[in-house]
Symmetry: C2
């Protein structure tokens, strides 16, 4: 055992991303394997938030919309996120939530493919994605209908009525990763557009929307980007679609001249047309710090380290717990998955709680998955070694059976 521990320490010594750990101040005694759900704050995010609130809001007041660059924050931060996902400046903007952005871009995709009505997705996609597409279909009967098929039937289901294929690149539960280039090409071959949900990708696995010729994308700010709880989300519209796409949520910040106060909506001629209401400056301040930190890291190193952490965890846990009813619910090969792992077990909820009581934070995803994320910026190989040992002890000892670990919380 100690030799495995020594090996983990040796890998930490050689880790080119090791310096990023100091950018976070995680609580003592915690191994945080849930950065895929809510990333922890970089110290710079806390400092920026305090400065924006106290100085820009408190002292600059209304003038900060100009003097502190608030009005450009959605496009400025969008341009930064663009660099993380293979997009060009002017193709990404920060606005609203992931759910609202999906609504905008799915409706926008229908506007780009008149005559086609089907929005194609997969069963078991992240619920909000399916819910939002169901809501759009219910609002516009005859114009849009959601068709959700099993993932293995998806490519086959792209037909001449499909306006847009909506997929989460890395599955929120299983971590299964779609081949972005191949699926994008398959959609295009049938005249359909592709809309990628990058919530579990950005800041985790290398993404190159431009190289794939992806059309549309959305993503979340509070996972691997460490942008804060409920951080503003982002969206991508390939430049070639920006003139024609129509947003259904035509708020004043998407107007060509918001401060002309015209009665009639005229969309901004660029990505700003996808902004809706007044930008949420406090949330944007924290998000920008998270994005700035992410930009300092080499994306290839990020993906490689995350995959190595996940694989180290899997290798330490799976062989010892398979006989105890624990199944890997994620693809076996690192190339087929993102940077989290899910394990199926009938007592997954209680196992997650028992591990949390030991300071190892993962989460539960109904009905039976224990999920652990391997954020490459703040986790060490030694963390993973220790977390795996806790996991094995919790399951082997039956510690998870204690009554206090069965109590359900509102948020799981």
């Amino acid at each position: 055992m100690s030799s495995l521990r020594d090996a983990a320490i040796a890998r930490d010594v050689a880790d080119p991303l090791a310096r990023f750990r100091a950018a976070f101040s995680l609580p003592a005694g915690v191994i945080y394997l849930n950065g895929n759900s809510l990333g922890p704050p970089p110290g710079t995010a806390l400092a920026s938030l305090a400065a924006v609130a106290t100085e820009e809001w408190g002292q600059g007041l209304i003038g900060s919309w100009n003097s502190a660059g608030w009005i450009e924050a959605p496009t400025r931060i969008g341009d930064k996120i663009a660099r993380l996902i293979g997009a060009k400046a002017g193709e990404v903007v920060v606005a609203d939530s992931t759910s609202v952005n999906l609504f905008k871009l799915a409706a926008g995709a229908l506007s780009l493919r008149p005559g086609r009505r089907t929005i194609l997705s997969e069963v078991g996609n992240f619920p909000t994605d399916l819910y939002v597409l169901q809501g759009l279909s219910a609002l516009t009967p005859g114009q849009a209908r959601l068709k959700a098929v099993a993932p293995e039937a998806l490519i086959e289901a792209i037909d001449a009525d499909v306006a847009v294929v909506v997929l989460t690149q890395v599955h929120y539960k299983s971590s299964r990763r779609w081949d972005m280039a191949a699926v994008t090409a398959a959609a295009h071959a049938k005249g359909a557009l592709i809309l990628w949900d990058l919530s579990h990708s950005t800041g985790a696995v290398a993404v190159d929307l431009g190289a794939c010729r992806a059309d549309l994308a959305i993503g979340c700010g509070y996972k691997y980007l460490n942008g804060g709880p409920g951080a503003p989300a982002y969206l991508f519209v390939a430049q070639r679609h920006q003139q024609a796409i129509r947003s259904p949520l035509t708020g004043w910040m998407g107007h060509a001249e918001p401060f002309a106060f015209d009665d009639d909506y005229r969309p901004a001629p660029d990505i700003r047309a996808q902004v809706t209401g007044t930008p949420p400056i406090l949330g944007l301040a924290a998000l920008e710090a998270g994005v700035d930190l992410q930009l300092e890291a080499d994306p290839a190193q990020v993906e490689a380290k995350g995959a190595a952490l996940a694989e180290a965890f899997r290798a330490a846990v799976s062989p010892r717990l398979e006989a105890r009813g624990l199944d890997l619910a994620s693809p076996a090969a690192a190339a087929d998955r993102g940077l989290h792992l899910a394990f199926r077990h009938p007592a997954a909820y209680a196992i997650v709680r028992a591990m949390a009581a030991r300071g190892v934070i993962g989460d539960f995803r109904a009905p039976d998955a224990a999920r652990f994320g391997f954020s490459p910026l703040f986790l060490s190989y030694l963390d993973i070694h220790n977390a795996a040992e806790h996991f094995v002890e919790v399951v082997e000892s039956g510690e998870f059976n204690r009554p206090e670990h069965q109590v359900r919380a509102a948020v799981t």
Copy 2:
């Protein structure tokens, strides 16, 4: 002049709301007449934001969704705002932006009045309101059409095809105030619903949605509620409509059981069905502090003081500047307006800039309005006396003609 100054000081001594000024730390040398656009931070907002970021996010991490009450924040703060607008607990929730909330409730109103297609509003309403309704109409042709009429023709225009009347109670530019009870009754008399935009009302003028039997309302967190730049917005759905109304933006946080991760959307049976994405916790923290402060003040005293401040300003300015081309663009009677005033002048933009250079912050609204807000919690009668003197001096001296005051900023 000095007797007027003494009178202002005497009114401050007698002001029952005077103690609230200490809750804000405004910059020295500034008289801030723009709280109607962006309220300044209460000290408690800055402290709460720091605690939420550093402790709840940084130390509590994902567990704060339960332990710090994050998941209940939209309804908890909604219940507090309900007390400010005459609504019951469970009728208000905080979510998204004002624009997005309008989209949800306007579509929801159509779902409550099947067979009716018209959304009625007034020309010159706050642009985002008209834009969002135009966007909804464009997305659902044949189901929704916006009809915007002159305010004096509005009541007459409520006919049997009108599903919902959408009005901003206090006009963003002129400050003209609709009679909420009378217009609501007129809508109901024709079988239509009413949707009030309270952005310039809440925290300013007394609002009693319940007494008026209003159906729906939306509002903004960053004006008189002092919730921070781009603060989360709120919406109201009268309890009697909550079972039947359908939101078009069916995000996971509006699901009856978000953490069941079902594939099919089932709306929450209450106001939570209007929540869309993950709640923006940092913005909510600041907003809650602003709302908590507002709840400490007597709404009747708030409205009375704001009206008195505005009237003192008007009385000090109008008679002296009418001959200089300055016209009051707001109703003459305090009962007919909210807590801001607009003045029309060909050089309104430059006048606002010249006053800002003297530390008196108002704003410009195209094409020719100088607008000043009279937030009752942090302004004194002496502030108003001094601000009016600056206004008169800037106009009488021609100081606003200086070249530096003509430069247009991105945000006006």
